[in-house]
Each structure stands twice: as structure tokens, then as C-alpha cells.
């Protein structure tokens, strides 16, 4: 949680420093503490509750580099009243931040293994901190593959960064879109079609998966059919998170609370109720 805050329900004021437009409805915001507080340490995969004053609060994954905690980075898609209010903020304006909350990607535990990252749509945002970590500690891992799918070219996040990552000789980046004009030279098809040809050893790999739930269900099936152990598949779930600390019960998922026990789970842990419609 924010340094110096003893009550996790009290938001800290953060000032909007920089805004980058990712797609027609998605922005990346860089925030700094408005009250001069220090850094904002977090682990890859955690989230914050962002409070647009007078409108409401939403859980948003942290999308910045855990190695650079001076700036808090969030990628926000304007889809509801609160996220639209956040995306309308101007440089210098303030929003409330509570967090960081939740579990994280097991990047340290994955040392010595291959790592395959599968992202769908805006699901790349919660995975970006994990990729930053892996690249900062590249020597600790075997092969690293990023497999990323979006609906169209216009929906791809972090395009300049994707190009930079492609230039890394020790990182395999494969991107696909559902549909594209004939002039496009890249992959067309859903993200799951890239998994069979991604280069990693399924018996020595850790998979980090994030995207809409239906995409994650089919991704898990593909990973399992390649031989990845469910214990080594990690997914990030989303439900209606309100308090962020497992008190209110809004995000109950089976026997867990996503805000407290998740959002990152081992697939083996939640397999019994992952595809249950009633949960």
C-alpha cells in the first residue's frame, strides 16, 4: 500500500503527469504522489483502486515497470462512467489511489524456466510489468515468448514498445489480429492459433495469461494440449472489486476473493470453478 498510509480504505491523492493515447478508447496515465510521498513499490500483476472524485472508484491493473516505482502507470480503457471520467482528466489534475492490492505474477518463482506470456486485448496491460521484470532479469530465464492478440490493428496496445520488443533477439514476439486489410504483413487469426507454434518447452514453461475470460479459457486449453502443467499456468481474473481487501465480498469467486487472493491465480487452484457459469 501507499507508503505512510495505515488505512487501506483511504485514497491518496495522485497527480496526473503524462497521458499517452494507446487506442481510440484507451489511455496510459503516468501519476505521481500529489502530497510529495515517495515511491510506489508494487509487484507485477497487482492493481490499484482509482478514484475519480465525485464519480466513483474502479480497480485498474498497474501497467508500469516495477523497477521504476517513482512513477505509477495505469492503462485505462474508457468503458464506463468512472473510467470515462478518469480518461477526461487533464495534466495536473488529481485522482485518488488505494493500493497496491492483490497477488502478483510468479516471475521470481519462474526463474530457470521458459516463460510464455499470452495476452488478449487490454490484457497486455497487467502483463507488461511482468515482461519488464523478465527483461530486466533476462539471464535468469530460458526462452521468453510474448503472444498477443487483438481484434484489429487499431486495438493493439503499446505499438512502439511492441516494435522495440520485436528487436530483442532473446524475446519472441508474435502478434495477431482477428481481421486486417490485405496490405497487412503480420498474422491474422485468434490468439490461440499462435500458441502451437510459439517456441518454448511446455514441460519447462510457466505461462502467464491475461485477457477477457473467454479468451483465457481457450488459451488454457491450448496450453494444456501442448503439455503445460496447470500448476504452471497463471491467469489474472476480474470481477466487481470494491474494497480491495476481501471485506465487502463483491468479488467472491468460489472459495476465494479475487481482490485479496487474486487477481493472479494458478490455474490448478481455480480449475474446479473456472468455467462454471454460476460462479
Amino acid at each position: 500500500m501507499v507508503a505512510g498510509l495505515s488505512d487501506p480504505m483511504v485514497p491518496s491523492p495522485f497527480c496526473l503527469q503524462r497521458v499517452r493515447k494507446e487506442t481510440y478508447d484507451t489511455l496510459t496515465l503516468e501519476l505521481e504522489p500529489a502530497n510529495g510521498a515517495g515511491t510506489f513499490p508494487f509487484a507485477a500483476g497487482q492493481f490499484n483502486m482509482l478514484y475519480a472524485f465525485g464519480v466513483g472508484e474502479v480497480p485498474i491493473s498497474i501497467s508500469g515497470d516495477p523497477g521504476e516505482p517513482q512513477t505509477l502507470v495505469h492503462t485505462v480503457r474508457a468503458v464506463g462512467a468512472v473510467t470515462q471520467a478518469i480518461c477526461k482528466l487533464k495534466r495536473g489534475e488529481v485522482l485518488g489511489v488505494r493500493g497496491p492490492f492483490g497477488s502478483h505474477w510468479p516471475v521470481e518463482e519462474a526463474a530457470g524456466s521458459d516463460v510464455v506470456i499470452v495476452a488478449g486485448g487490454i490484457g497486455l496491460a497487467p502483463l507488461r510489468p511482468a515482461l519488464y521484470y523478465l527483461l530486466s532479469n533476462r539471464e535468469k530465464y530460458g526462452r521468453i515468448a510474448l503472444v498477443y492478440g487483438a481484434r484489429t490493428l487499431e486495438d493493439l496496445l503499446y505499438k512502439p514498445e511492441l516494435e522495440r520488443w520485436r528487436s530483442h533477439l532473446d524475446l519472441e514476439v508474435d502478434v495477431t489480429v482477428d481481421t486486417a486489410p490485405a496490405s497487412y504483413r503480420g498474422n491474422v487469426g485468434v490468439v490461440t492459433t499462435l500458441i502451437p507454434r510459439a517456441r518454448f518447452d511446455p514441460f519447462q514453461a510457466v505461462a502467464l495469461v491475461c485477457g477477457p475470460e473467454v479468451m483465457m479459457r481457450f488459451t488454457v486449453r491450448e496450453l494444456e494440449s501442448r503439455g503445460v502443467d496447470p500448476e504452471n499456468i497463471f491467469i489474472s481474473l476480474e470481477r466487481s472489486m470494491k474494497c480491495g481487501i476481501g471485506f465487502c465480498g463483491h468479488c467472491q469467486f468460489g472459495s476465494t476473493f479475487i481482490c485479496r487472493d487474486g487477481p493472479v491465480f494458478s490455474y490448478a487452484e481455480i480449475q474446479p470453478f473456472f468455467a462454471k457459469r454460476e460462479i
Partner: protein, 154 residues
């Protein structure tokens, strides 16, 4: 021929196929290459062949009024291109174009249909493999129709 048999053996599509069937297939196979931008087949043309891609990338396209040519799928190393040679009226439903230099094994459909009629073990093995490809493409198409990326998460 020995080289072609080795290439067919190593291709994922024919993984596990017995030697006798492979030797029958080799009689219908040839090496082909397509330069970047080269059209491999066009919608409506007679479909007398299918391809097993060894290297490169191929786009499967159609033409949509007001949108122009649209890529609906790309295929790469290890993939099969085309099954219209197997299903009447043996006409391509889409256009295929090499996105980059592409090397493939072409299998003559007329030759294969004849061999499959005469050797039902070969026919069954081939049909199982093609059904698997069609099933995978159908699943992928369903996911595209679902628009799986349109979640609400931020």
C-alpha cells in the same frame, strides 16, 4: 523422391503416418515455392491441389464490397492450406497469397482422391487429419465471431 518422403514424414500434418501410406502420398507430391505477393489460388478457380507449408506465411483473403480485400486468416510453417480439392464442386472458396517467400509441398488432389478411393486406409488417415484441421479452423472462426477480446477489464 526420398527427399520428399523425408519432408512429408517431418511435416506435422503427417506425423505418425505409416511408411506405406507415405510412399503412396509421395507419388502425388511436389516441392513448390511462392514469392512474396504471389497469388497461390483465386476464389472460384478449380481446386486440384493442397499445400503443406514448410516455411513462410500465406494469407487467406476474400473481397468485401466497400472494404476491398480483407485477410481472414494467415497460415505459416506446419499449416495445411486448402481442402476444397476434397469437397465437391472442387472450387476454391477464398484467395490465397504468399505474404513472404513461402516454400511448401503441393499434393495433387486428383491423384490423391484416386489413391484414397483405392486404398481406404490411406483415405481414412487423410480424412482424420483434414477433419482435425477443419475442426481447428472452425473453433478459431467461432472465437473470431465471439470477439473474445471485447472484455471490460482495464
Amino acid at each position: 523422391m526420398e527427399n520428399l518422403e523425408r519432408v512429408l514424414t517431418e511435416h506435422p500434418f503427417f506425423k505418425g503416418l505409416n511408411k506405406r501410406c507415405l510412399q503412396l502420398l509421395v507419388e502425388c507430391a511436389s516441392n513448390v515455392r511462392f514469392d512474396a505477393g504471389q497469388v497461390i489460388f483465386r476464389e472460384g478457380e478449380e481446386a486440384g491441389v493442397f499445400y503443406l507449408i514448410r516455411h513462410g506465411r500465406v494469407s487467406v483473403e476474400t473481397f468485401a464490397p466497400n472494404r476491398g480485400p480483407v485477410i481472414i486468416q494467415t497460415l505459416g510453417e506446419g499449416d495445411l492450406l486448402g481442402w476444397s480439392w476434397l469437397i465437391e464442386p472442387f472450387r476454391w472458396r477464398f484467395e490465397a497469397r504468399a505474404v513472404e517467400l513461402t516454400r511448401a509441398i503441393a499434393l495433387d488432389g486428383t491423384c490423391l482422391r484416386g489413391k484414397c478411393e483405392g486404398d481406404h486406409e490411406l483415405g481414412y488417415e487423410l480424412m482424420k487429419r483434414i477433419a482435425h484441421v477443419i475442426e481447428n479452423r472452425l473453433q478459431a472462426t467461432r472465437l473470431q465471431l465471439l470477439n473474445v477480446y471485447d472484455g471490460i477489464r482495464s
